[in-house]
Point group: C2
Chain length 446, copies 2
């Protein structure tokens, strides 16, 4: 049976890569956090490969790690997403621009407005990665002693989304008539005052910006808890998820698409895009060597701290070149601990290697020739493990160039990925309809 | 005595002009609120004339006016300042980029970070117009029933500024060593944790962005109350003020510079820039005709509402083509009322003309030939009424082109304004030193 579905590809970006050893990799650009020219290069290359979106992660605190580990890493500081993506909108024409923004530490009026503004600037290419913020230290930067409790975060997030969506619909699409003759700038019948009053938020509106080009910017969700999956099914256009194996991916896919069925939403109105860390070689062996070489750049200080955190047990006293001994159960996250223990066992890693893996990157990865990688992506697509991927690059620019120059052409040859953009907005790329404004639907107006 | 001081010129921008009739003026661009190409044209022309800064006003609510008046005006909606200025930073190289942001309705961590990011993107051209927000309706969009009381707003603003400044100093200028050999990305001794706990704000830090290029982005203040002037003297690098006459300007200038003396700050570390609405003609008569013609585009609905608000008295029942009768005293702002009554008397305006003036623009204006305007600007500079101006354009693009093509060359001929940028940052243009990081001054380190 011919495969008619196509892959969607986002690029999950941190300027220097999210792998904490990447800045030391030969040929890397360690100053990319504050080098606009480098980021321009990345986004333009990705656009030349017809990627759906350029996706900026975001955190509201310098990561919570012992300073001895932190000082080894390029992650704590970089451009703020809105300023960066707005600047990148000027040097691109088609690729979607997705910014992460928090419902826990921001105001819906600001968020609605900024995404609408980015959408206008970019001609309909804005997306919002809606997060409740994973780093609990952020609370300390916003006047709180503790992170808001998990379920409460999600209840606020749900209401926050409703407010943002209502604010985006403040003006009808054709509200601004600008009739110089009569002196009518906008039609007041096409202005809607939200007047929202809820348990967490009270926002009158209207928003001081015209309705976004896309009607509503694309909403992406990355939660994986019950509450996270449910809010995604109810509100999101795309889900970004960490799924380490195809089996886990298929369970997640069936779970979330099943929620859509129960909500009466069409299945293809929510795209599921697991993160995939891609390392390309001319041979499988070369790719694996690159992958192993990259991990050697994770400094012991950083790797040991990460591994100790993941296990809930200080491993710094062990022989780093020996295998991991039995570790007693602790209070640490069970799933993180389990994943690390499996990794140690399956790959036969020493403690140092394990620490470097955990301190660098240890989720889903595809390491091999362009054909190997295309095979895996195709399998995930065909077997309904995903609708595409959010690609993570091991080091930049070379790791990104490899995907653009070698993997994407292979996917295109197989008919799995577009050779040219067919639309202009991020909704177009993702195959999502432009939503009507419910406050001014034709039925209401008639 | 030769005049050695030079003018500083900012452009106080709303995309279609802040005059509410401007969008109807022949040749205007009524869609500029959401047309990036137009804004790019404006900023590039201003840069070609060596303006110090491009300055975006901002409001957090659709203006509080009766809808019947509001619908006549282009002001309620436009791009959000950070997204817009970030985009404009890509198409310019020297001109300063000043965004308005509120201390009442935002968080210092966000504000510090966004200005730092804009400063990095633009190579040191960011400025913050620090406002406590003039439109009370904004409160309703941010979970409050009422605007915070005036003095409390300023107390919060003062603390807010201290936090932002402290966050900007989170990292020393040379904290990021990126030593690939040893694996040290930053020097932990050059990281400062603010740990601020005050009456209004509690913010731990550090900021997740490197120290701004300018050390600290330029801070602009526009308050005119006692509290406003004092916070300006204590914190600001420039003051944007509404002063209708040279006499008032000189009083304001002496007042604020006197505060600097008492604080031990050098007088030239704070530039005072009144707003000036500039209308250029080939002859004085032609300029005055343009000015009058512009006012005819203020719709009666809009003018009458504005005049009634300014007087605290509904004037819609009067004969619009007659003079203003006696108006009983009311609760409205005394200074606004007084200014309107003087305007009616001094210029002998009918009610309609007065309404059009008040509904359009009624502050300091310079209307005449390029030489007339240069004369006035020179007088303000020489007599210490100001250090320059924040120029407002009556209509765009023509009103802006007139200033760039005719007034600036005249100022340059007189040696009152630069012919080329001599520095690269906004601090350079304003003649302000780059501040040290007090947490890492050489004395502390030694
Ligand atoms: C691939 C991926 C990317 C994420 N990116 C961010 C991010 O940029 N910022 C953030 O605060 N949280 C981020 N998160 C965290 C999620 O928003 C969420 O907090 C986390 O997945 C835990 O899910 P849960 O809260 O539903 O249990 C990301 C999560 C995943 C899986
Ligand atoms: C020329 C000028 C421009 C201003 N621009 C803004 C603005 O963009 N946004 C805003 O909220 N307030 C703006 N303001 C208002 C001031 O921030 C301040 O609220 C007002 O001048 C009243 O001063 P006071 O609060 O010290 O009495 C501006 C004021 C002036 C004089």
């Amino acid at each position: 049976m011919p495969q008619s579905r196509q892959l969607h590809l986002g690029a999950f970006m941190r300027p220097v890569s999210l792998h904490t050893g990447a800045w030391r990799y030969p040929g890397a650009w360690p100053d990319a956090n504050f080098n606009f020219a480098h980021l321009k290069y990345f986004v333009q290359r990705l656009e030349s490969a017809c990627f759906d979106a350029f996706f900026m992660a975001d955190h509201l605190a310098v990561l919570n790690m012992p300073i001895n580990a932190l000082k080894r890493s390029q992650t704590p500081t970089s451009f703020e997403p809105f300023t960066l993506l707005s600047a990148l909108s000027v040097v691109t024409e088609r690729i979607g621009l997705v910014a992460t923004a928090s419902t826990t530490f921001d105001e819906p009026y600001h968020i609605a407005r900024r995404f609408a503004s980015l959408d206008h600037l970019s001609g309909g290419r804005a997306g919002w990665n809606l997060v409740t913020t994973s780093n609990p230290d952020a609370a300390l930067n916003f006047g709180r002693d503790d992170h808001m409790e998990h379920d409460e975060r999600y209840r606020r997030a749900r209401e926050f989304y409703d407010v943002v969506r209502g604010l985006w619909d403040s003006w009808d699409d054709d509200a601004f008539v600008r009739d110089t003759q009569s002196g009518l700038f906008f039609d007041p019948d096409k202005l809607h005052v939200l007047d929202h009053k809820g348990p967490y938020l009270s926002v009158r509106g209207p928003l001081n910006i015209a309705r976004p080009i896309q009607g509503r910017p694309v909403v992406v969700q990355a939660g994986s808890s019950e509450a996270g999956k449910q809010i995604a099914a109810e509100t999101a256009d795309a889900v970004f998820t960490a799924q380490s194996t195809l089996a886990a991916g298929k369970r997640f896919y069936a779970d979330v698409k099943g929620r859509l069925d129960r909500l009466g939403r069409p299945r293809d109105h929510l795209k599921i895009l697991p993160g995939a860390f891609i390392v390309v070689g001319d041979s499988r062996e070369q790719a694996q060597e690159k992958r192993a070489f990259l991990d050697t750049f994770v400094h012991d200080d950083s790797g040991i701290a990460s591994l100790s955190i993941a296990l809930g047990h200080d491993v710094s006293g062990f022989d780093l070149d020996g295998p991991l001994p039995e570790i007693p159960e602790t209070n640490a996250s069970q799933s993180a601990r389990q994943r690390v223990l499996e990794l140690a066992r399956d790959k036969g890693l020493t403690i140092r290697q394990l620490a470097q893996r955990v301190g660098g990157y240890s989720g889903l990865e595809m390491v091999g020739t362009p054909a190997d990688i295309a095979d895996q992506m195709e399998q995930w697509l065909v077997e309904e493990g995903s609708d595409g991927f959010n690609v993570m690059f091991p080091y930049l620019p070379a790791g990104l160039d490899d995907v653009v120059d070698k993997v994407v052409p292979e996917l295109q040859r197989r008919g799995l990925f577009r050779r040219a953009y067919t639309g202009t907005t991020l909704r177009d790329h993702l195959g999502l309809p432009r939503p009507d404004n419910p406050f001014f639907s034709k039925a209401v107006r008639a």
